[in-house]
């Protein structure tokens, strides 16, 4: 295994039991994701891309196989250890933003920091920095319902970044956004990778969104279609910039 790999997946399988039927979501996946990559996981609905993302992010467990993230085999961690690990290492961005509606943008971003021992002043500084990074410092006191979809997603990105995780996972982050907002969000993710050296894994079935990544892989019926498609590709500019 290369030390430059942030994620190393070997023979990973996930089988769901639905009544009497076994549904194979992932079938013997092996994959390496290098540090600083912006990987687009593509595939049609039901292809297993979100399942793969969830296992890498430690919110789901595989049926078999190995999944090492920054040298830690996440399949071996218990529930509590996984929670701590996620808080320190993973930043999540979801398709539906998933902000807490009764909290302001500032408070939503602050949520992961409440689990740390940071003092309130330090938390405030980090939250403000994260909000500045996504260009929403002037919307800090707004509730999610007072923000546009794009702004909500940027708040979600700020929440994902506030703990300074090395890995950011995004599950269809532009799925609910118009093209302009989608562009803004993808640009932010790209900047994160380029300027802050974050590794980004993004699930999408939109080729335009995938074009912002440095590499894309395709899944179909739980398997990598053409191996690691585009492995080693590191475009400095998105292939399709609006």
């Amino acid at each position: 295994m290369s030390t430059a790999n942030v994620v190393t997946i070997r023979h990973l399988s996930k089988i769901y039991r639905q009544g009497e039927i076994n549904v194979t979501a992932l079938n013997d996946i092996s994959l390496d994701i290098r540090s600083g990559e912006f990987l687009a996981l593509m595939g049609p609905s039901g292809s297993g891309k979100s399942t793969l993302l969830h296992i890498v992010a430690g919110i789901d467990r595989p049926t078999s196989g190995e999944c090492q993230v920054q040298g830690v085999d996440v399949t071996q961690l218990n529930e509590s250890e996984l929670a701590d690990w996620r808080n320190q290492n993973i930043g999540f961005v979801f398709q539906t933003f998933n902000l807490i509606p009764v909290l302001t943008a500032f408070e939503n971003v602050e949520l992961p920091l409440l689990l740390t021992r940071l003092r309130s002043g330090e938390r405030r500084r980090l939250v403000n920095t994260a909000l500045e990074l996504v260009g929403l410092e002037d919307r800090a006191r707004h509730l999610p319902r007072q923000l546009s979809g794009g702004q909500e997603q940027r708040v979600a990105i700020a929440r994902a970044l506030v703990t300074d995780p090395s890995l950011v996972v995004a599950d269809e982050p532009t799925g609910n956004l118009d093209s302009n907002s989608a562009h803004d969000v993808l640009t932010i993710l790209q900047v994160l990778r380029r300027s802050a050296g974050k590794t980004v894994i993004m699930v999408t079935h939109d080729p335009k969104a995938a074009a912002f990544g440095s590499r894309s892989i395709h899944l179909e019926k739980g398997e990598l279609v053409n191996g690691e498609a585009g492995a080693g590709l590191d475009r400095s500019q998105p292939a399709m910039t609006p």
């Binding site: 979501a25 609905s45 039901g46 292809s47 297993g48 891309k49 979100s50 399942t51 969830h54 992010a57 919110i59 789901d60 529930e79 509590s80 929670a83 701590d84 996620r86 808080n87 320190q88 999540f92 979801f94 398709q95 998933n98 807490i100 509606p101 009764v102 909290l103 500032f106 408070e107 602050e110 949520l111 992961p112 409440l114 689990l115 309130s120 929440r159 599950d171």
Partner: protein
């Protein structure tokens, strides 16, 4: 933001539901406290220090059977007794009332003075009461309730005895645990009844609490194998025998209290379950962000506890204020004089509310603990 702020914002996100839940907890707690207080008042009558020194002597056959008046001479000779008086329940109706809530007793005024150690004469003079055979001694609460003043006449229609009374108020007493009674001359009753030579009961005071049991034993023994055997008992035991006539009050009130608590439990559990179910996805997000099961359980418990505590504070506090500052005699037509919401009852109500909060938090917490993050997010491909 602090964790406390986060919990508070969650608890108040649906203000109408939170308000209604708090209100239902408050009403239930107020009802529970009221029932517990009622049970206490009915089964544990108020007791003064002097009451422990007083003994009632009644006919062993039944309270309704009179005792011979000549027993007084024997009682006077029993060591340990410092005062004794005939004490006959008249049970008349005042004015036009069909049910009069204060009792009237025929006593020997000179001897009765030795038994009313904790009371004081608030108006008039006890001497006047002793001197005038047609006069009476009236409790301050009754004077106030009927707007009576010294010198007024009180007319009673007999229900137990076939005679009526027309009494002049000579003195008013206050400071006892029950300032409602009316006392009049036994000689007047004897005269009206044609001197039957009987009394209802004997009321006596013993020298000290230590000798009370000995005195009771001596009194019982003194009339053994006579035509009128007696049963002597402390004032408290005597009161309790009256309470037993009300039936199993404790069971009845206990049953109602259980229904109240059970209803309260259903309301709280239902509210918490609804509140958590509609936030399942958010709780999954929190798990994703690194919040562990125990932290989510703490949030749910704190929210449940907060609603219960606010409701209980309003309900129990309200019940306490209501029963403390309300004119109970007026409200209950004289049935209740005291209705003390004791610290013990307040504590019981609070413990019930706290337990309900914990129980209400258990089911949603288990559901959240069992929920996988993916299931909560519902983002499976």
């Amino acid at each position: 933001m602090t964790i406390g702020t986060f919990i508070l914002k969650n608890a108040l996100r649906n203000k109408r539901r939170a308000g209604l839940t708090i209100l239902s907890v408050a009403v239930s707690c107020a009802l529970l406290v009221t029932l517990l207080t009622l049970e206490r008042e009915l089964t544990i009558p108020p007791e003064s220090e002097a009451a422990s020194l007083r003994v009632i002597v009644r006919n062993k056959v039944s309270l309704a059977q009179p005792l011979p008046a000549k027993q007084l001479a024997t009682l006077d000779r029993i060591p340990g007794i410092v005062a004794v008086t005939p004490f006959t329940f008249f049970g008349g109706n005042f004015r036009d009332e069909t049910v009069t809530s204060f009792a009237q007793f025929a006593v020997d005024p000179a001897r009765f003075q030795g038994l009313m150690v904790e009371g004081r004469i608030a108006e008039g003079s006890y001497e006047n009461f002793i001197k005038d055979r047609n006069s009476c001694l009236v409790g301050a609460d009754t004077m106030k309730r009927y707007g009576l003043k010294l010198g007024d006449r009180m007319r009673f229609t007999g229900t137990f005895f076939p005679v009526n009374l027309d009494l002049k108020i000579a003195a008013v007493f206050a400071g006892t645990v029950d300032d409602r009674g009316v006392f009049f001359h036994h000689k007047l009753l004897d005269e009206l009844l044609g001197d039957p030579g009987t009394v209802g009961t004997w009321y006596l005071r013993v020298a000290s609490a230590e000798v009370a049991n000995d005195v009771i034993a001596r009194v019982n023994k003194a009339f053994e194998n006579t035509a009128a055997e007696v049963r002597a008992e402390t004032e408290r035991a005597f009161q309790m025998s009256f309470i037993s006539m009300l039936g199993n009050v404790k069971l009845l009130i206990g049953s109602i209290s259980s229904v109240v608590v059970f209803t309260l439990l259903l309301v709280t559990v239902s509210t918490m379950s609804m509140a958590i179910r509609e936030r399942f996805q958010e709780l999954a997000i929190l798990k994703t962000l690194g919040y562990r099961r125990r932290e989510l359980f703490s949030f749910i418990l704190a929210e449940s506890f907060g609603l219960a505590v606010v409701g209980a504070t309003i309900g129990i506090g309200g019940a306490w204020a209501f029963w403390t500052f309300t004119d109970l005699q007026k409200l209950t037509n004289g049935f209740l004089v005291y209705f003390e919401v004791t610290p013990r009852i307040i504590a019981s109500g609070s413990v019930v509310a706290a337990l309900l909060a914990i129980i209400a938090a258990i089911a949603p917490s288990i559901a959240v603990a069992r929920m996988s993050v993916v299931q909560g997010l519902k983002t499976l491909d």
